[in-house]
C-alpha cells in the first residue's frame, strides 16, 4: 500500500473535468484507490465521492493506492492532482 499527502495544484481544484480524468485514470488500475481529506475518505473511482470532498486548489489530500499496480497508479494519479498531466 502506498500513501502520500498531496497538495492540489490544479488551477480550479478537483472540478468536474479533472475529477473525470482522475476517475477514468483510476479505473485503469486494479488497485484500490482512495482519497482522504480532513478525515473523510472516498473511493478514487467514484466521481460523486471526489466531488463531495470539495478539493479546492491548495487543499491537502491523502492518496492511497493498494494492489498489484499500486506504484504505477500512484504515479499517474499524483500527476492529475498536481495538475501536470
Amino acid at each position: 500500500m502506498i500513501k502520500e499527502n498531496i497538495t492540489i495544484l490544479n488551477e480550479n481544484g478537483l472540478h468536474a473535468l479533472p475529477a473525470s480524468r482522475f476517475v477514468k485514470q483510476a479505473e485503469k488500475f486494479a488497485s484500490n484507490v482512495t482519497l482522504t481529506k480532513e478525515g473523510v475518505k472516498v473511493s478514487g473511482k467514484s466521481i460523486m465521492g471526489i466531488l463531495t470532498l470539495a478539493c479546492e486548489k491548495g487543499s491537502m489530500v491523502m492518496l492511497t493506492t493498494d494492489g498489484r499496480d499500486e506504484e504505477e497508479a500512484a504515479a499517474a494519479l499524483r500527476k492529475i492532482l498536481e495538475g501536470q498531466d
Binding site: 480550479n12 481544484g13 472540478h15 468536474a16 473535468l17 475529477a19 473525470s20 476517475v23 477514468k24 472516498v42 473511493s43 473511482k45 467514484s46 466521481i47 460523486m48 465521492g49 466531488l51 463531495t52 470539495a54 479546492e56
Partner: protein
C-alpha cells in the same frame, strides 16, 4: 379516425413537413415509494442496472452529436455526467438498499442522489454547487428510463417524425437530428427563441407559440407542420395531404431551378461583385455554407457554445471550434461575433425588467473581463489561419469600442509575449444594431474595420417594437423608411471612412430588399445558408444604376407599406426576370 384540426402558431422556419407526431415530454417523473414491498428485489436491481445501461447509451449518443456539431471534443462536460451515472458508490448503495428495504428502484435512487446533491449544495464553492444540475440531469434521465418513458431525449426521435413539445431547452435543441425530424412545433417561444434559430439553421420547418397544443395532439398520429403559414394540422384529410404534397413538389422544383446558382459568382448583371456570406450557429453548418455557395461566414454566433456547455467554455474548447471553422473556410473569411448573451443566460438568478434594453452582449463582456478574455484569447489564437475577423454585438457608444479594442490589443500583446502566432492584421468590426450606433456611424467608422448592420434588432429598436409580442408584432417591418434611412446613413458613413459595410439580418435574404440594398451601396450580405442561391439569382438579374434610382425614390415614402408597394412595382418593371419571386414579402 381522428378529425382534422388546425392549430395556429408563429411561423419561424420555412417549409412544409409531414410526418408522425413524436411528443417530446419534459414533465417530471414520479418517484413515489410503492406501497407494497418489492417481491423480487434481485429483479428490481436488474431493472435498475438496465436503466443505467440504457441511459449510458443515450448520453454517449448525445456526446457524439455535440462533438460532430462543434467539430471538436466539446462535449467533455458529458464525461462527468457519464461517470456520475455509472458511479460505483451510487450503484452499489442503490442495489444494496433495494435488497435490504425491498423498495422500488425509483424511490431509492432518488433518495441517494438527493443525499449527494445536498452535500454539494452545502459546498462553499459555487462551481460545485452548480454540479447539482448535472446530478439531476443524469438522475432525471435514469428515472425516466425506469418509468419506461423512452422519449427522454430528442436524440431518440425516429425517422419520419414531426417533433411536438411544450418547449425544448437549448442543450436539447442542439441535439435535433434533421435527418429524422421533418418539422417542429412548440407551445412557447418567439422568433428569436433558441428552437427557432436551431430550426432555421437546420432547415427544418418550424412553428412556435402554439398554445395548448399538447392537449389537442396525440403521439403517433399524422400531422403537417406548415412553416410558411405558421400552422400545424393534425390528422389532415386526404384533400389537405394532396394540397401539401403539391406544395412540397413545387418547392422541390423551385430548388432545382435555384441549384445552379450555388456555383455562380455573386455579381450584378453589370458586374458589381457583392460578398454573399452565411450566418451560422453551429460549426457543422460550414458544410451548408459551402454547398450553397457562400463566400465566407458573415456571422458565426457563439452563444450556442455557451448554452451547450452551460457555462463559459474553456479557452482550449473555444479555440478548437474557431480553429476548425477557420481551417474549413480558408481562404474565405470567418467573422466571429463575441457573445451576444443576456445576463439572464449567464447568471441563473439574474432577472431584469427589459432584457432587450438591459445587461447583454458587449455590456456583459465589459463588466466581466475574464469572461471576455477567454473568448478573445481563443479567437486570437485561431487567427493564425489569417482569415478570422472579430465583431462586437450591441455596440451603443464609442467608449465600448475604445475599451474593447484596448483590451483586445492588451491580449494580443500578451499572446505575442507567450510566443503565440496571431494575425496582426485581424479586422475588428461592430454590429450596427442600436439606433445610437447607426446615428453616430460617421464618428464610429474611424475606429473599426467594418460595419455589419443587424437589421432585425435595429428595426426592433428604431420602431420600439418587440416582434415577439403578438399585440405589436404587426408594427415590425424592416421596410419602414425610418429603418431604411438609417441603413443608408450607415453605409454612407462607412464608405466615407473607406470601410466595408455588410448587413446580416433577415432583410439581407429578402428578394424585395436586395435591389434596394444594392442601390444603397451595401458591400456584403450575410444570410442563412439555404437563402443564398435565391439571393444570387436576384443579384445576377440586377443592374446598379437602376437599383440606385429605385433606392433613392423608395426612401421618400411615408410608410413600410408604401415602400413595399413601390418596390414590387419597380422591380417587376426593371427586372422582369425576378418579378415572379418577389411576390409576397416574407
Amino acid at each position: 379516425m381522428a378529425k382534422e384540426r388546425i392549430l395556429k402558431g408563429i411561423a419561424v422556419s420555412k417549409g412544409i413537413g409531414q410526418g408522425v407526431v413524436f411528443i417530446y415530454e419534459t414533465k417530471d417523473v414520479e418517484v413515489a415509494q410503492t406501497p407494497a414491498p418489492v417481491q423480487y428485489p434481485d429483479k428490481e436491481v436488474a431493472r435498475f442496472l438496465e436503466a443505467i445501461a440504457r441511459t449510458e447509451g443515450e448520453l454517449n449518443n448525445i456526446k457524439e452529436r455535440i462533438n460532430a456539431e462543434t467539430g471538436a471534443d466539446f462535449a467533455q462536460f458529458l464525461d462527468a455526467q457519464i461517470l456520475m451515472l455509472r458511479d460505483r458508490d451510487i450503484i452499489s448503495a442503490v442495489s444494496e438498499a433495494i435488497e435490504q428495504e425491498k423498495t422500488n428502484a425509483e424511490f431509492i435512487y432518488h433518495r441517494i442522489l438527493s443525499m449527494y446533491a445536498k452535500k454539494l449544495e452545502a459546498s462553499k464553492d459555487q462551481y460545485l454547487r452548480e454540479r447539482v444540475m448535472d446530478i439531476w440531469d443524469v438522475g432525471t434521465r435514469v428515472l425516466r428510463s425506469l418509468a419506461g418513458l423512452t422519449h427522454s431525449s430528442v436524440v431518440d426521435v425516429p425517422p419520419g417524425s414531426v417533433l411536438v413539445a411544450h418547449d425544448i431547452s437549448p442543450s436539447e435543441a442542439a441535439l435535433i437530428n434533421p435527418a429524422n425530424v421533418l418539422g417542429i412545433a412548440i407551445e412557447v417561444g418567439g422568433r428569436t427563441s433558441h428552437t427557432a434559430i436551431t430550426a432555421r439553421a437546420l432547415e427544418i420547418p418550424a412553428i412556435v407559440g402554439v398554445e395548448n397544443m399538447l392537449a389537442k395532439i396525440r403521439n403517433g398520429e399524422q400531422a403537417i407542420i406548415d412553416g410558411n403559414r405558421g400552422i400545424i394540422i393534425r390528422s389532415p384529410t386526404p384533400g389537405r395531404v394532396q394540397f401539401y404534397q403539391s406544395e412540397i413538389k413545387k418547392e422541390v422544383e423551385f430548388q432545382k431551378v435555384l441549384s445552379p446558382y450555388c456555383e455562380l459568382p455573386a455579381k450584378t448583371r453589370d458586374g458589381r461583385q457583392i460578398d454573399i456570406s452565411a450566418n451560422i450557429e453551429f460549426f457543422i453548418e460550414y458544410a451548408h455554407a459551402k454547398r450553397y455557395g457562400a463566400m465566407g461566414i458573415g456571422l458565426f454566433r457563439t452563444e450556442f457554445l455557451y448554452l451547450t456547455r452551460r457555462g463559459n467554455p474553456s479557452e482550449e474548447e473555444q479555440f478548437r471550434v474557431y480553429n476548425e471553422l477557420a481551417k474549413k473556410m480558408k481562404p474565405d473569411p470567418v467573422i466571429i461575433r463575441t457573445y451576444d448573451l443576456g445576463g439572464d443566460k449567464i447568471f441563473s438568478d439574474y432577472r431584469e425588467a427589459n432584457p432587450f434594453l438591459g445587461w447583454r452582449a458587449i455590456r456583459v463582456c465589459m463588466d466581466d473581463l475574464d469572461f471576455f478574455r477567454t473568448q478573445l484569447r481563443a479567437i486570437l489564437r485561431a487567427s493564425v489561419n489569417r482569415n478570422i475577423r472579430i465583431m462586437y454585438p450591441m455596440i451603443s457608444t464609442y467608449e465600448e469600442i475604445k475599451k474593447a479594442t484596448a483590451y483586445f490589443h492588451a491580449i494580443k500583446k500578451e499572446l505575442h509575449g507567450e510566443g503565440v502566432d496571431v494575425d496582426d492584421d485581424i479586422q475588428i468590426g461592430i454590429m450596427v444594431e442600436t439606433p445610437s450606433a447607426a446615428i453616430m456611424s460617421e464618428q464610429l467608422a474611424a475606429h473599426v474595420d467594418f460595419f455589419s448592420i443587424g437589421s432585425n434588432d435595429l428595426t426592433q429598436y428604431v420602431l420600439a417594437v418587440d416582434r415577439g409580442n403578438e399585440r405589436v408584432s404587426h408594427l415590425f417591418d424592416h421596410f419602414h423608411p425610418a429603418v431604411l434611412r438609417l441603413i443608408k446613413q450607415v453605409i454612407g458613413a462607412g464608405h466615407m471612412a473607406h470601410i466595408w459595410v455588410g448587413l446580416c439580418g433577415e432583410l439581407a435574404a429578402d428578394p424585395l430588399a436586395i435591389p434596394l440594398l444594392i442601390g444603397l451601396g451595401v458591400d456584403e450580405l450575410s444570410m442563412s445558408p439555404v437563402a443564398i442561391p435565391k439571393a444570387k439569382m436576384v443579384l445576377r438579374a440586377l443592374t446598379v444604376p437602376e437599383c440606385e434610382r429605385i433606392a433613392e425614390r423608395a426612401l421618400a415614402f411615408r410608410s413600410a407599406g408604401e415602400v413595399k408597394k413601390f418596390l414590387r412595382r419597380m422591380i417587376t418593371k426593371e427586372f422582369p426576370a425576378i418579378g415572379g419571386i418577389i411576390g409576397g414579402a416574407p
